[in-house]
Assembly symmetry: C2
Amino acid sequence: MKYLWLSLVILLAPGLALADPLPSWRAGASKTAIVEFVEAVTEIGGADYRTPAERIAVFDNDGTLWSEQPAYFQLLFAVDRVAEMAKADPSMAKSPALKAAAAGDFPALLATGTKGLLEVVSASHSGIDVAGYQAKVARWLKETRHKKAGRRYDEMIYQPMLELLSYLRDSGFKTYIVSGGGIHFMRVFVEEAYGIPPEQVIGSTGEASYKVVDGMPTVMKEPGLAFLDDGPGKPIAIDRVIGRRPILAGGNSDGDLHMIQWSTAGEGRRLGLLVHHTDAEREWAYDRKSHIGKLDKALDMANSSSNWSVIDMKTEWRVVFPYDLAE
Amino acid sequence: MKYLWLSLVILLAPGLALADPLPSWRAGASKTAIVEFVEAVTEIGGADYRTPAERIAVFDNDGTLWSEQPAYFQLLFAVDRVAEMAKADPSMAKSPALKAAAAGDFPALLATGTKGLLEVVSASHSGIDVAGYQAKVARWLKETRHKKAGRRYDEMIYQPMLELLSYLRDSGFKTYIVSGGGIHFMRVFVEEAYGIPPEQVIGSTGEASYKVVDGMPTVMKEPGLAFLDDGPGKPIAIDRVIGRRPILAGGNSDGDLHMIQWSTAGEGRRLGLLVHHTDAEREWAYDRKSHIGKLDKALDMANSSSNWSVIDMKTEWRVVFPYDLAE
């Protein structure tokens, strides 16, 4: 009798409802698009089948996997670090941008424009070896709280996207981050936060040098930007590092337009995803007119592309942050 | 009786001599260093144990995994491609370097120096999309033969190094190429030749652009060098792409010195390997005074470092090329 039951379970298993791999996603256009895409490219013998080697999925980070308001979290780190450096050596705060950062005066810093912001990032991300820098980032993430949410920054990651990353990996995908953020900054937390190992993190890079410091060969972070991984830089960086055109790309802003356009344009079935920040209550609501994460041209492109799906955060996400689950 | 034998085999298996994973390596200092290193870092509970994530091995390509005489094979491709381009449009051979390349006149080309060589590489590696370029490389590899060996260039790979790569991967290592050669050139053949997938190829990169060409989003190869992956550039590139310090590094020239120095200098057990070209009969013999693959400072460093091993090609390799096995 026991064996009869077992046989029945085995026979009927394919017809049973399996556990939902995306429990934080409400039934809707995006969830349907994702599940149909994954099932199509993993169905052996199916018309859209892709080998595991071809299952490359790339995701932006700021605004796609974690929050980015009121400013990119790495910029908040840069300002805090300049303030710390200026406390130790006040003479370093020479320019208007560095003075504003040292004083924690955000409006004054923003008034210095892109040039001022780059100056703050450069000063706070150089003159230190990679390991020393990453120890500072780790301490900052541990000790600092987001002003509005009262949470650690690396807690402000999106539960539905964590489920999507796991679902993709369980389906034989290799998941990459392709972000305008810095590689050394991201690698401090992304493995624990998203399950993405350091070699699957693509990002902006500062200049670097190789030196033997006190007998220890060391990679040093130097002033200046070596590569900006944003806009058209994203497909270029993916081609350089991965060497294949992804079949799934997710982002949330015009800086992700080229990456999604390139990934969804090759032969065979492909999927583009755009996180649309529509939830002022649980997170933030912004798009075409935002200074951070501006989503304008990419939204138009998504609306006219058959294989892009716009994720409406407010209606499609049951929860936003992992800590919401516990409440 | 059958089962008794089976039990005995299972019981005794750990004590039996397993098949040699490096049959083309003669017993000697390098083989011993490799096997002892791999056994030490994979022994669970051992003092030198490394998790699979930490088992990163990096190898130079030219002169380490395949031959590089009488000149880097990619340079031979560049000259052939300039000749082909000049046949279609003679006006492109404007400078002395391009004229020499178009005429296949190597002495004249070498006389133009590094600047001339870079000009030839730049002209032959730009103005084309990545896929189109790679199709040209594939055709060239298929149709061209090495003048001395009479073999395809991608047959002139080192059998002992193929065995080493397999042995490392079977022992949970991730094997990377870190070469002065171009990423797009190498990716055409390294997966089939060495079992190394595109995303584990780090190399020099030319400038690139992102364009929509006839409605198809495309990464274009542009003139100019974006990053030279040689000397101190190698640890910088490894840090950028992999984000971990390797525990094994192999090379054959002073261009690999910094990579091996950095990889062998961290905490825990590490291994550096230097292929020494000592076999004028089966391959080539060259080191301190060679223009290609100069091995001078790195040889001195190897001799004074306890965790580097110099591979004497002539005495330690039973065969050099895979096609030697068939003969």
